[in-house]
């Protein structure tokens, strides 16, 4: 690095380094590979200088200095490993241990405890203090969080992360002096918070521990599998801690992945749905009106025979497929291929939780304008239309908060609710529910039916946005169809490069749309009407494609046009609010469901095939921002099969085997042929999130209303999976009104 005005030269342990001015000494030391121990210092949080562990020697300074509060100065000569420093750290440890019980054999943090590591390194386990240790019984703050007062070394990381980074402010500091302790926010000594577990994760000792991991095992006894989270659409990487084929907890302490160390309750503790007792373990077949266990051969044979018969008798247009928001890209692709080439129908859809197709269409002809999740935390201005990221997109909300807190980003919100992010916003325009499209028209200056006062506010918002540059626009399911194009038209005029994120609900909502689980779009949003594109895909798939757009989800579900419905990993009865009867789905002769649990839809089915969850299979997910990540299998699925396998076996039973033998082969085909998915395999295999950017090459078609809607899960619900997670069901905040959090 050459010396510029903004860089400072200093010497750390005899090595000259250049760091940007304003860097903290502790970070400068870390950049040389000399890790200075610290308990209270945490990157990104305010400074505390409470633990005194980071003392270092600075030449010409008479006393040792705390590296976490000293800003680098030119010509500084720093030593981090002298006998004096080691002695000082040892003595600091002795102070920290005055009240620490050293009950490592019992403590859950044993084996991954920063204090334990330091005592091992500097040796201060023998105390000279004779005073009796202050003891208080352990407290359970919430169904997630336990607090053990004697173990706390008062670094206040938890208090700061909850206040500054999470903006929850649920933890505080009580009492004074030797009796200082961490207190929760409810008067009865319990927590009311987002239960994200950040305080537990960040605690350098075992003062805050989780209920889910409590006294279960030890860090060295588990397998660690880093894979994208199976819940919301943000695609956080969670390192699953697995023992005995059971997920005990998740975390991301190695900070790989797009989320850094951040995870919400779902990523950390809601992997427990995988071993819920009600999990389906074998195929169910309806016999004499009852769903009864059957063998795989029997079930698949039944499905293939009846599906084929109905296709032959009433035509392929009477067969419909509903895909999933939580199956992998490969499975979605295979389903699209199966439905279109083997069955020969375009009746293919899924619960669309954001109008990705409209965005791809609106960005038609432009260079790639998708923002990645990490771009948000570096953004200078953000416009959010609809959605409640705090609940639906915890990582994006975290990134937005970091952008505002650390870089002074300007956040503008148009929403029908007073969502929590308003606390970070420069301006919140509250509009009547369902008037998002009108608000976008008002931004254009067009006449609308919303009140004059709101229009005035929107005019102010527009004026403010016009002064910003490089705005990132986020929009939820409230904005769909032509409103997306109008929003893009408006924001395109703003200065700088405007980028977009459509906010979809589930782990692979984006992937489902990208892979063409749409009645009128082929993979990569290629239009079905375009003969050239259709021909290209006919060549790839080696079969003729039906050219007429199929039925969309709503038409399939209530229209009486179908004889057979094939549902994969979704629960349309509940999502589309249908009565729980078979008649509500139309005059179906066959209903097949792939599911993990016996959902409302599965209960009505003729055949239920037990499917593997995202933690039990390989493949890729695309998060809502368009970042592709590879799944790693954490659990042995046992007798259940992946959706990929089921569709493949079905194609064999049908008599037209699909040639894709593995999800790797399917992904290679996706890479070759789906626009924007030509991503680096090497990066994927290395566990990175690789941006993909499907642009349709075809202008947007308008989306009929009622198709794109968010399930609007809260922090503590997650579709079907959330209902079977003991951790999510245990927290009391689940029943609170959302505005309380």
């Amino acid at each position: 690095m050459s010396e510029t005005q903004n860089s400072v030269q200093l010497t750390v342990d005899g090595r000259a380094i250049d760091v940007p001015s304003g860097t903290l000494l502790i970070e400068a030391c870390k950049s040389t590979g000399h890790e200075v121990p610290s308990f209270c210092y945490y990157p990104g949080l305010s400074l505390q200088a409470a633990c005194r562990m980071c003392l270092v020697e600075i030449e010409k300074t008479p006393k040792l200095q705390t590296a976490c509060t000293v800003v680098v100065q030119p010509g500084m000569i720093v030593r981090t490993e002298t006998p004096q420093v080691a002695e000082a750290r040892k003595n600091m440890l002795e102070f920290l241990l005055t009240n620490h019980p050293l009950d490592c054999p019992v403590c859950d943090k044993g084996g991954e405890c920063e204090l334990q590591d330091m005592v091992f390194r500097y040796g201060a386990a023998e105390s000279r203090f004779v005073e009796e240790k202050e003891h208080q019984p352990e407290q359970q703050f919430s169904p997630i969080v336990y607090f053990d007062y004697p173990r706390c070394i008062l670094c206040f990381r938890c208090v700061r992360v909850c206040d500054e980074a999470m903006d929850v402010k649920a933890l505080g500091i009580g009492q004074r002096g030797v009796r200082t302790l961490i207190i929760p926010n409810r008067p009865d000594g319990t927590l009311e918070c987002e239960e994200c577990g950040m305080c537990i994760d960040i605690c350098p000792v075992g003062a805050l521990t989780s209920h889910q991991y409590r006294y279960k095992t030890r860090p060295w006894e588990m397998n660690y599998v880093g894979t994208p989270c199976a819940h919301c659409g943000d695609g956080c990487k969670t390192t699953l801690n697995v023992r005995n084929n059971q997920i005990l907890r998740g975390n991301n302490r190695d900070m790989t992945g797009i989320n850094g160390e951040f995870l919400c309750i779902k990523g950390r503790y809601a992997g427990d749905f995988t071993h819920h007792p009600e999990r389906l373990r074998q195929p169910l077949l309806r016999r004499n009106g009852q769903l009864q266990p059957a063998s795989w051969e029997e079930a698949l044979g039944f499905v293939a025979q009846h599906l084929k018969e109905i296709t032959k008798r009433s035509g392929p247009r009477t067969v419909g497929f509903l895909g999933s928001n939580r199956t992998t890209n490969e499975e979605n692709y295979l389903l699209a291929r199966f439905a279109r080439t083997v069955v020969g129908t375009n009746n293919l859809d899924h619960h669309r939780t954001a109008d990705f197709a409209a965005l791809a269409g609106a960005l038609h002809g432009e260079p790639v304008r998708y923002a990645a999740s990490g771009d948000l935390s570096r953004a200078s201005a953000i416009l959010l239309v609809g959605n409640d990221p705090t609940h639906n997109h915890p990582l994006l909300a975290w990134n937005i908060r970091s952008a505002v807190r650390q870089h002074g980003a300007h956040l503008y919100i148009i929403n029908s609710r007073r969502i929590k992010l308003r606390r970070q916003a420069r301006q919140l325009v509250e509009i009547p529910s369902g008037k998002e499209a009108a608000a976008i028209e008002a931004l254009h200056g067009a006449p609308t039916d919303i009140s004059a006062a709101t229009q005035q506010e929107l005019a102010t918002l527009r004026a403010a946005l016009e002064k910003e540059s490089d705005v990132i626009v986020l929009f939820g399911a409230e904005v769909f169809g032509s409103a997306v194009s109008r929003l893009v038209e408006f924001s395109r005029q703003l200065p700088g490069v405007t980028r977009y994120i459509a906010l979809g609900d589930y782990a692979n909502s984006r992937g489902a749309a990208d892979m063409g689980l749409l009645p009128d779009r082929l993979p990569g949003y290629a239009s079905l009407k375009d003969a050239l594109t259709r021909k290209k895909w006919e060549q790839v798939w080696g079969a003729a494609l039906p050219s007429e757009p199929g039925l969309h989800a709503k038409q399939m579900l209530g229209g009486n046009q179908l004889r057979a419905l094939y549902v994969i990993g979704s629960n349309p009865v509940r999502t589309f609010g249908l009565p729980q009867t078979r008649e509500a789905l139309g005059e179906l002769e066959l209903l097949v469901v792939h599911e993990l649990f016996l959902t409302e839809t599965a209960r009505l089915a003729d055949v239920v095939l037990p499917a593997a969850s995202a933690y039990e299979k390989d493949g890729t997910f695309t998060n809502t921002c368009g970042e592709v990540q590879r799944l790693k299998r954490a659990l042995d699925p046992g007798a259940v099969r992946t959706d990929f396998e089921i569709i493949r076996l079905l194609s064999y039973a049908w008599g037209t085997p699909l040639p894709l033998r593995s999800s790797e082969a399917a992904f290679e085909e996706i890479r070759q042929h789906v626009r924007g998915y030509r991503v680096s395999q090497a990066q994927l295999v290395a566990g990175q999130a690789v941006r993909c950017a499907p642009t349709s090459g075809h202008a947007a078609a308008d989306t009929p209303p009622g198709l794109v809607f968010s399930a609007d899960d809260s922090l503590f619900t997650s579709g079907t999976l959330g209902r079977y997670s003991a951790a999510l069901n245990s927290v009391s905040e689940r029943d609170l009104p959302r505005s309380r959090l």
């Binding site: 490592c104 054999p105 044993g110 006294y215 279960k216």
Partner: protein
């Protein structure tokens, strides 16, 4: 024939020497143990089948810290930990071992587990009769290893 005489003398000497050892040993105390007809005597530090001890209140000393499993060079110890509750208290601490298995088909009786134990919960006992026809029987469960509960106090 001096060679024949010499040979006879040597034979006699060798016999006498050999039988002198036999005769000497005949009057020494017996060291052979009549196992299995009589019980076996052990040295105090003999490393036999492990014993999981109880404290003075009859509670298990093991707190399921997993250090024995970590120290074990052959990974023969398998533990599952659990939480003590007010109703069922198994150990004196907050956690206890709900499952504690030692696989004696792997154990090499090195004693590292005993050294690692922070609560002196595990020691080597004097049990050694491990032979079995079924290798699955070599896995000893906590119930097999646990010391007998103390007699209830006299009332």
């Amino acid at each position: 024939m001096p060679s024949i005489l010499k040979e006879a003398a040597e034979t006699a000497f060798t016999l006498a020497k050999g039988f002198s050892v036999t005769l000497r040993t005949l009057f020494r105390p017996t060291v052979t143990e009549n196992y299995p007809d009589e019980p076996v005597r052990f040295e105090a530090r003999y490393r036999g089948i492990h014993v999981l001890h109880r404290d003075e209140n009859g509670l298990e000393k093991c707190v399921a810290c997993f250090l024995c499993a970590a120290a074990c060079p052959v990974q023969c110890i398998y533990i599952e930990a659990a939480d003590n509750t007010a109703e069922t208290r198994i150990s004196a601490s907050e956690r206890y071992a709900s499952v504690y298995n030692i696989d004696y088909s792997r154990c090499i009786f090195c004693g590292y587990c005993v050294e690692a134990c922070p609560t002196d919960a595990i020691t080597h006992g004097h049990g050694f009769e491990l032979a079995t026809y079924n290798i699955a029987d070599m896995v000893y469960r906590k119930e097999d290893l646990l010391a007998q509960p103390l007699k209830p106090p006299r009332t």
